[in-house]
Symmetry: C2
């Protein structure tokens, strides 16, 4: 007998080579599996919901794993023991017991990402590792129009980074795509049913192209239809990106709102 | 003819050996003077209001300096040009022209410091460089009683770090000394007319001693009266400390309130 656990994990991704375990590099999955293996005294492997890239942060990476019956460790005790073993920049926020057929990666119905842009006129000395500093100010209203035009079900090849290796194709649904000003920063919020490799960072690169006046918001539909990965905009750097939430329920996904700035998220007791 | 400028400077102190210029180490004053010297084409020296220690941050270090008449550079242009030259973790927020007899260090009537404590149960993966993580939870009400007992004019020798080298002695006035819960953190706020070397960090170390149950809040008056630097508590580490504001006006000082979490301070345009 074993049981199936769902862990919610937050991390500052700055020093890690991303989520996914690698043989010779520090990764968040690697650190977490090491802490679990120490705690249970046997090799344990976990499955994360989003393979965040090097330098990308998470407030709520969702991780499922099978834990052995022995030693019996209540989830809340395990959470504390794991936090003692993990580095300061990785935190297990909660652990719940889930049904045997639950799998973080396949059971989720969507994810929310947040990206922080720091306009240059408002140099933020404390946010270098958590935002993309802009060389200029950006035209917010234009960015908002372009963002709105991305909402809906589209073929997102234009916003992908590699040739399609997935049988399901490149069609995804964005439920929210917004840009707002908050505390002197521009905050990009994206909620979707699934994301292509680097798709959020490509969307942010596109929106910055619009905000800089290099791309017209009216061209959004044409760029989507062109299905051309060389769309004349860059991929935003990783440090501004936060995996903010993962949804296992459609209502929760469709009513999602940013509650706090990612840096100050309220830790769950 | 030269004119007297007052710069307001914010910085993440993590990588610097403190504010004050040193021959062989990176300091905030050193970086700022280098940027000013580049800009004006002549050696310039500045005077800061608070010699913050290595690892301590500032939202509003106040810096005065005499700038030459030539080249004539309007303050707002100088601000932008300095921000381009300074590293990402140092920001000139504003520059104003002040009267010739103004001196940041001698004209101020007080300062506000903020210290962030992260209780362990609420591990904050993003705040490692900006807070002191506690090995346990702290008794907030006890800390609040001890903090209130420090308000007023006292000999603060107990909260000093080195023998008195100052003719004025160790008497200082605290106008505010409070501990509050905010976003899962404990925030210590201290406003005073002046501070001994490491006095804020000693006060925070004392309050943590109280919150941990090692010191009774009722002993605060006795500890002050003892004037003993070996008071049985530690000096809090630097990374949780922010110089939050400097006052040149008593009303401003006496009505000070924390407006935002230090990390998200609203940059002035």
């Amino acid at each position: 007998m074993s049981s199936n656990w769902l862990l919610q994990v937050a991390y500052d991704g700055t020093v890690y080579r991303g989520w996914q375990r690698q043989r010779d590099a520090g990764t968040v999955q690697g650190e977490l599996e090491q802490a679990l293996t120490d705690l249970f005294g046997c090799d344990l492997r976990v499955s994360g919901c989003s393979r965040t890239d090097a330098g990308v942060h998470a407030l709520a990476q969702q991780v499922s794993l099978c834990v052995p019956e022995y030693p019996p460790i209540p989830p809340n005790n395990a959470r504390k023991a794991l936090n003692d073993r993990l580095p300061d920049d990785i935190c297990v926020r909660s652990i719940e017991v889930v049904s045997a057929d639950f799998h973080a990666r396949f059971s989720n119905v969507g994810k929310a990402y947040v990206y922080l842009l720091a306009p240059h006129a408002h140099k933020h000395p404390f946010l270098g590792r958590f935002s993309w500093t802009m060389p200029r100010n950006l035209a917010l209203a234009e960015m908002q129009r372009a963002a709105a035009a991305l909402i809906g079900t589209h073929d997102f090849t234009t916003f992908s980074c590699v040739a399609d290796r997935d049988d399901a194709g490149n069609t995804r649904t964005l439920y929210q795509c917004r840009v707002e000003e908050l505390d002197g920063l521009l905050v990009v919020k994206v909620v979707g049913d699934g994301f292509l490799y680097r798709m959020v960072r490509r969307i942010v690169g596109f929106l910055v192209g619009v905000g800089s006046g290099r791309i017209s918001p009216e061209d959004t539909g044409r760029l989507l239809a062109a299905r051309d990965r060389n769309g004349g905009f860059c991929t935003a750097p990783p440090q501004g990106l936060f995996l903010y939430d993962v949804f296992f329920d459609e209502d929760q996904r469709d009513s999602w709102e940013l509650e706090v700035m990612p840096l100050l998220f309220p830790p769950r007791p």
